[in-house]
Amino acid sequence: MPKTLFEKLWNQHVVASLEDGTDLIYIDRIFLHERMGTISLKSIEVEGRRIRNPEHVFATMDHIVDTFPGRNDETLMPSGKHFIQAMRQSAIHAGIQLFDLNDPRQGIVHVVSPEQGIALPGVTLVCPDSHTCTLGGLGALAWGIGSTEAEHALVTKTLRVSRPKIMRVRFDGGLSRGVYSKDMILHLIGTYSATGAAGYAIEFAGKAIGDLSIEARLTLCNMAVEFSAFTAIIAPDDKTIDYVKGRPFAPTGQAWDQAVAYWQGLTSDHDAVFDNEIVIDTADIDPMVTWGNSPQHAIPITGQVPNPSKAKDQNTRKSMVRALDYMDLKPGTAMTDLKIDAAFIGSCTNSRLSDLRIAAGILKGRKVTEGIKAICVPGSTQVKQAAEAEGLDRVFEQAGFEWRESGCSMCFFAGGESFGYQERVITSTNRNFESRQGPETRSHLASPATVAASAIAGRIADPREYLQ
């Protein structure tokens, strides 16, 4: 019987089908970070349990660490130091690899795991972080879990999971200039709502997907959770294999050859049946930006703030009214008329080298509008060093951006550094929730190109006006 890629990977990882209707799924890799992983590790210690395969478990410092140059265990986040030091102690106790603050491999978990070759095509990988779906961009079956489930995975090497339904989202056609995979995922969620994939795992397919770089695929899959998907996956291809080759934790020698032979078979059968399918003509997608407090509030950058009176039902209307009030917006205002206070490039969505190159291409020879706080936080120490080797740090700094150490940073406000009260921020991150980036901060999600263009313009700006 023909099978989808997701079904194949799922079936290959089933240890047992349990009486309660769930499957016991074998977990190949587990990644932890100092905010949630610490709690899981501590709980395992208290219960007197053991990690089954510590050599398959990795941890990094990203959520709480400061990103100022010269940082140490002291953080602006109240009690942040406890998390950092507890992570270090627990990692030693558990015998797991930790990419600590001064380790050149440190960075945001979902940037580091592909970079280090820990996430591989076809592996199951879980992490107590909702954006673990990012790794589907490499063809990994990866999803986010809570810390109790992380304990379960650490101790048993398995999770009990009900198999989701499977949806294919096909992006056919080419991408216009100034349009990136961030715009594709915002377009998808804006069109089909934040609950559009509830109950489904997604396979992204189609010509536009094949054309994307691996880093762009990671960005696309990153926001699958914002679409309510269990996760997303893209079949590995030659680009994927080229990307993985030579990475520190990737297989070598004979194991590499065996892995490649296996990876080349990881596709959905041509006659596989999906439970649902969405087809999008990629040529129709413009640069996107959000106006409200849900990723589904995404519209083309040429658009206007929508009118709640046109909402499909009362609850949607109420939430739109609330979002307009929170964001201090009036229906009918052109998005490109909105002045901004700050611009942020960073996060597991858009902080990889290709993102920084695109932003730098727009910033080169230009200046950020005076009074705008503009910050770039590379996704990993390795990304930072690679960018510096190309001179991108100087482009950012000469334009007026701060250039930081890597970490999750101001993607969310954890009591430490944040954007100011009610400030309007154009941001390359994934969540525009109320107070996500600071006290009553007004976040507008967009691609790094749009963030860079907006920082220069001093208002939300169409990146196409700034591309050579």
Binding site: V15, K42, R49, H82, T148, V225, F249
Partner: protein, 214 residues
């Protein structure tokens, strides 16, 4: 884990859609390397008059006199979307919430509820709105009139007016809640199968097991 079999409680309506786990407990409240001590941070951004204050905002539903002691939350579509932080469930639980009734839930939040003895019930938008309307209309009456009865064995929610609504829940989560199971202990009973799988898998996918110690 605490069992969930039956429960009677005051229900409080919070029907906003897409209530995310950042709203349920903001990041700035996650100050402890612990599963405890988060009840005070529940809905901190809405529940208090200012960010660093603990002065109750009188307009927030859980601060209203008629909803004191609420143990059931009536919620909107996609409740608990966003961050995987289990603190959202720990905070609800510590505050005293035993069940959330909503048209849909964030998937990770849903799983986190099951693993902490908090029952997430999926009922249609119309039914949740009807329950909320009943609760709100009877606000002037005695507290018992705002009580909702939940029976997980039978899969039934009984509204204040006596109407009953059946809900579905997968057998796995249902068993976990009814019996308060320790899932790790239970899964370790499958150790022989996990061992056998791993042994076979080493042959099939050797690269998974050849991890460099760099």
């Amino acid at each position: 884990m605490e069992k969930f079999i039956e429960h009677d409680g005051i229900a409080a309506p919070l029907l906003r859609i897409n209530v995310d786990t950042d709203a349920i407990i903001p990041s700035r409240e996650l100050k402890r390397v612990s599963k405890e001590g988060f009840g005070e941070g529940l809905f901190a951004g809405w529940r208090y008059v200012a960010q660093d204050s603990r002065e109750p905002n009188p307009d927030f539903v859980l601060n209203k006199p008629q909803y004191q002691g609420a143990s059931i939350l009536l919620a909107g579509v996609n409740f608990g979307c966003g961050s995987s932080r289990e603190h959202a469930v720990w905070a609800l639980k510590e505050f005293g919430i035993r069940s959330v009734i909503a048209p849909s839930f964030g998937a990770i939040f849903y799983n986190n509820c099951i693993r902490n003895g908090l029952l997430p019930i999926v009922l249609s938008d119309d039914i949740v709105s009807e329950l909320a309307t009943q609760v709100e209309q009877q606000v002037e009456q005695d507290p018992p009139s705002r009580l909702i009865h939940i029976d997980l064995h039978q899969g039934l929610v009984t509204a204040p007016n006596g109407d009953t609504y059946a809900f579905d829940i997968d057998p796995g989560p249902r068993d976990m809640l009814l019996n308060g199971l320790d899932m790790i202990g239970l899964t370790l009973q499958h150790k022989a199968e996990i061992d056998a799988f791993q042994k076979q898998d080493r042959e099939r996918r050797p690269w998974i097991y050849a991890v460099p110690n760099s």
